[in-house]
Symmetry: C2
Subunit: 257 residues, 2 copies
Amino acid sequence: MMEKIETYRFDVEAFHVDFTGHLFLGVLGNHLLNAAGRHSHNRGWGIDHLNASHYTWVLSRLGIELDAMPAQYAHVEVETWVESVMKLFTERDFLIRDADNGRIYGYARSVWAMIDTTSRHPANLLALHDGDILRYVLSPDEKPCPIAKHSAIRVSATEPLRTLSTRYSDVDINCHINSIKYMEHIMDLFGREQYETRRLRRFDIAYKAESHLGDVLSFYVDGDVCGPEQQVEVRKCAGGVAAGGGDTAVLARVLWK
Amino acid sequence: MMEKIETYRFDVEAFHVDFTGHLFLGVLGNHLLNAAGRHSHNRGWGIDHLNASHYTWVLSRLGIELDAMPAQYAHVEVETWVESVMKLFTERDFLIRDADNGRIYGYARSVWAMIDTTSRHPANLLALHDGDILRYVLSPDEKPCPIAKHSAIRVSATEPLRTLSTRYSDVDINCHINSIKYMEHIMDLFGREQYETRRLRRFDIAYKAESHLGDVLSFYVDGDVCGPEQQVEVRKCAGGVAAGGGDTAVLARVLWK
C-alpha cells in the first residue's frame, strides 16, 4: 500500500528570498500547495482525476508556524499527510525541515473542501469512491502536528489601510485571485523596519469568497503594522469601483517575534 | 573539459500559469536566470565565487522571443551558453524547448556586465582569471541563436500610464527592485482582452539603473496597450514622492502576435 506521507523537496532560489535573505512566505505557500497537489495526485485524488468527474479541491484555510524561515540556497523538505477527513472538510498537515541537517523550520495546517464544479456545491468526501480517502488518514497519535489549529479571525477596522486593483499577474487559470497572491499582498502591508526588527512566527489565512480579475481589494487591518500581531480582512468590490467595502474575500492573522 | 552548454529543466506549476493556462513571463525569466546562474556556477564563474573576490554579475539586457509559451504542467528544458565575451560585456543565449517532444518554444538573448562590488565600476572580463571565461564561448557558427539582437528603445510619452510604490515583495536580497518584478509590473499594464486576443511574441528589457525598496516607479508607454507593440520606460523617484518623472530605471519593448 502507498505510504501515507509524501516528501517533497525544493531549493531556496536566489530570486525567491526577501531583503533579509529568507524565503518569501508566498513562495513557501506555493511549495506547500505543490506538495499537497503531488500527495493527492499520487493517491488518485489529484485535481486532474477530480476534474474528470466535475469535482475540485478548494483551499479553505492555511496556517503556517515557523521557528525559522529557510535562507537562500537552503535545501528544504516538506512532508505532508492527511490528519482527518470529515464529510465536508479534510485536514492536511505539513512538516517543513532542512534536508541537509534535519532541523525543523516549522509546521503548517490546512483545511480543504471539495466542490462540484458544475453546481459549486460542496461534495461529501466520505461518499466519494466508497470512502477511499480514509485509507490515507494518519491520526495525530501516529504523526503529530504540534501547532495550534485555526481559530476565528475578526476585524473591526472601518477604514482600509490599502486598496488595490487586481491585475493580470494576480489571477490563476480560473481568473480567480490566486491564493498565494493574497499572502503576498498581505505581507506587502508591512514596511522595511518590521522585517528588520521582527521575524514572522505564524501566518493564518482563511479564504471566504473568490474574487476575480479587475476586482478592487481593500485591506482592513486591526493592530499596529509595526507591532507583534495584526488581523487583516480583505474585502472585494467588482472591477471599476475604487472605494473600500464589499464582501469579505479573505481573513488573515499575522504574528511576529 | 566541461561542456559549453548547460541544460536546466523545470515543470510548469499550477500557480505559475496565467488565466490563459500559459506560463507567466516573469516565471520564465526566473528560470532563465536560474539556468544562467547554474551554468556560471558550474564553471567557476558563479556569484558565489565572484562575491568572494568582490565582483558580481549584473544583468544589462534580456530579450525573449517565443513561438509559443509553455502551458500548464509542461516539462521544459532550457539550454544556455555563452555566445561572446568582450571587455565589459558578455552575451549569453538560451534555447527553450519542450522536454517531452523537443518542440522549440523560442530563444532568448542576454547581456551581462561584471562590476566590482566595492567601487561599483565595471570589471574587465578578459583580464579576470587570465581570460578563463573565453574557454566557454560557443560562436554563432557552432550554436546559433536565431533571434535578433537587442535594439535601442526610445519612449516619448510624457504622462505615466501607471505609478506605483514599491513594496517588500518587489525587492531582492540587495534591497534592489528584482529584475523579474519589473517584467511582472510591465505585463500588468495590459488588460484581460489583450491576453485573450493576442499572444506575446517578443519581450525586451534593458536595465539602466537600480531602484530601491520604497521608490516610486512610473510607467511611460508609447503604443496602444491594446495594440501589437509597446515601448515602455520605467522611471524611479526616491521613496515618498508620489508623482512621475525621475531617472530611467528600465526600458522595455513588448511585441504581440
